[in-house]
Amino acid sequence: MADVAVVARRTFDDRRARLVAGAVLAYSLLYWVPGSPFPERMPWGVVTQGVIFGTTNALLAMGLILTYRTTRIVNFAYGAMGAMPGSLTVGLFLAKGWNYWLAILVGLIVGVVSGALVEILVIRRFTRSSRLVLTVATIGLAQILGAIALVITLVLGSDLLTGNIDTPIDFSVFVRPYPVRGDHLLMIGVAPFVLFGLGWFLLRTNAGMAVRAAAENTERALLLGVPVRRLQTIVWALAGGLSTLTFVVKAPFTGVVPEALVGATAILPALAIAVIARFQSLPTALGAGIALGLVEWTARWNTSAASFFDVTYLVVILAALLLRRERVSRAETGESSWDSAGVLKPIPDELRSLPEVRRLRLVFVGLAGLLVLVIPLRSQGSTVVLMSFAVVWGIVAMSLVVLTGWGGNISLGQFGIVGVGAMAAGNLMMRWNVDFFVALVFAMLVGGGVAVLIGLPALRIRGLYLAVTTLAFAVALDSYFLNPVNFSRYVPDSVRRPVLWKRFDMASEWVTFFVCLSGLALATIAMRSVRRSRAGRVMIATRDNDRAADAAAVATTRVKLQTFVLSGCLAGMAGALYVLVLKGAGQGTFHPNMSIEVFSFAVIGGLGTVAGALTGVFFFRFVDYALGEYFSGDVAAILRLSLTGGGLLGVLYFLPGGLWQFVQRQRDRYLRAVAARRGILVPSLVADKRVDEASDDDHPDDETALIRGALTSDSP
């Protein structure tokens, strides 16, 4: 009893607890006042539902915070980590007729084991990588886990696993206007248990204390004898279990739909809550979750536009970031960048003008040009449309090269900006028949403007928060702003293609293709110029070491913002071309998952160079087309997810510079042979190579000969 009294006294002493108690009391009293709006606008049932669903989102957020506090990354695979064992649970219960509680237990065990395996097989491989790389790895991981979840639903009978699910919890009470079922109570009962459990683990146990120490300073914790690796495995196992638990208690209401399985979008509410809680405080996460839940359900009850709430998430995230003062802990400093091993080098000056090198370059450029010109001319119109789309995706990928490859930031909502550009250009052309090029420039300006609005709150503080704001923006744009229910007048649903310079009718797919291709070529030339200018060098400097750049009087926040604005302009341009190719745009045209796809494709191709990103996008657009030809539905989705997710992880681990790095390795091999044949010493071809301890045997003969030759020629 004494313990209960202590807990009660401490709770009463807590300011936040008093605030919550006051709000509950005020609501209860005002409810009965004659003329009060509460019975009509905010009845008990709405409040109850808001609290219940807000609590589940808070549970998701707690898991995100837990992984953030140990690895200092936003784990975009968190939703998928629970969806995979969760779909197994639901499948076993519904399709195989297992006992509900036994199925939950099995799901939880699988969740914990898979969480540990994820850490051992994937996260641990990237211990030495930057946080940016690890964050991208979680995006790949989400896709692989999503593919496994889809396989499970397919094997267990996917028809059974959508929509609401009846569970054996036989309890129901009516709280006007909604019934409260036993499943609701299970949801709300789990949250405090998890909160206290996690709080106890982190604050009271030795392992929890060691986890916090390792999160603050891994090297120091290692020196003090903390078994960091084992602790991380424990934390990821806990996170896996927690994510599964959240999925399972939510499943009776949301069902097991593919959206929930795969997309990083499923964790958007949790991301909003975690941002409010600064990825730090678990009680704040619970409070913020309940508050957001209340706002959401009250808005749903009072308005017809349910998608309005997606905008609220965006506003909440932006406001929370804007109100946040930068307080950097030791663990937050030294925000690392894109892996420098992935930096691709140009052809060395010593060899550039040699005839065999120039000839080879000409051959490759000529071949590429020929392919680009000849293939469309010999293809059917429907195929040319697909090529035009691929080219526009290429421009989006280029915008990611600027942002991620050069700027070291992540955008998971690049297609949101593309959508804004499409809306701007589409409306100008559709309503006022404005010149296409004017619409294109306007779309670029709008893209840049949007980049400022959503970039500024995120970029002023350290950390990869841009990924969160852009994701929220992409979701809000697709579900709310492009929703004809909300903005029927501003959705450009039917855009007529213009006649180019009064001569070439763009109704022809070939003309449109070459316009898109010219856009891509111009953007490539412009970006190459930017990269070679001071602006480009400053971007790279800020990416590689923003503290050193700061010390060299570079306004790093402004540079980061400039990088995002440049990237936004390119995305806006892509939007104008997209709406032209598609002859309109609407809800679903710029689905948030497309942003994650294009990001994955570009990383696999190589985000360090424009050519690499373009190769990745073109290759995967082709694979996508081929998959669509031979497979359909779930099988195609599984293959696509496995390819992109597996490709992403494989590339990050083996070829940090992307597939283009492989191409460049072959090029360097050829260049070394040329240098050896001509007896030219090219230090940049041999000096930067990693030398293994094994001995000279690892060096190719030509390289060793080169070094020996250089030494003998220098000696007197």
């Binding site: 052309m429 028949n433 404005v434 010149d435 296409f436 090029f437 004017v438 420039v441 007529r496 293609r497 213009p498 006649v499 180019l500 310079w501 009064k502 001569r503």
Partner: protein
């Protein structure tokens, strides 16, 4: 034309040189290419616009209802 970076002998001369604002020798302070680009763009939009062709949209009204009165 004298070299701006030639070494100076005296302290006042050095200070005077430092105070001197460097002259921008580029066309329109370096914005020349941008201005030329904008002019070309405007000319393109005015002389060879890329717009959708006008089309006549005919919407048929409701069929006239005539009443025939017999005399």
């Amino acid at each position: 034309m004298t070299d701006e970076h030639e070494p100076v002998e005296t302290r006042p001369a050095a200070i005077a040189m430092l105070k001197e604002t460097p002259t921008n020798r580029h066309l329109l302070r370096g914005f020349g290419p941008l201005v030329v680009g904008v002019i070309l763009f405007v000319l393109m939009v005015l002389l060879a616009p890329t717009v959708a062709p006008e089309r006549d949209v005919t919407i048929e009204g409701p069929a006239p209802t005539t009443t025939v009165s017999a005399n």
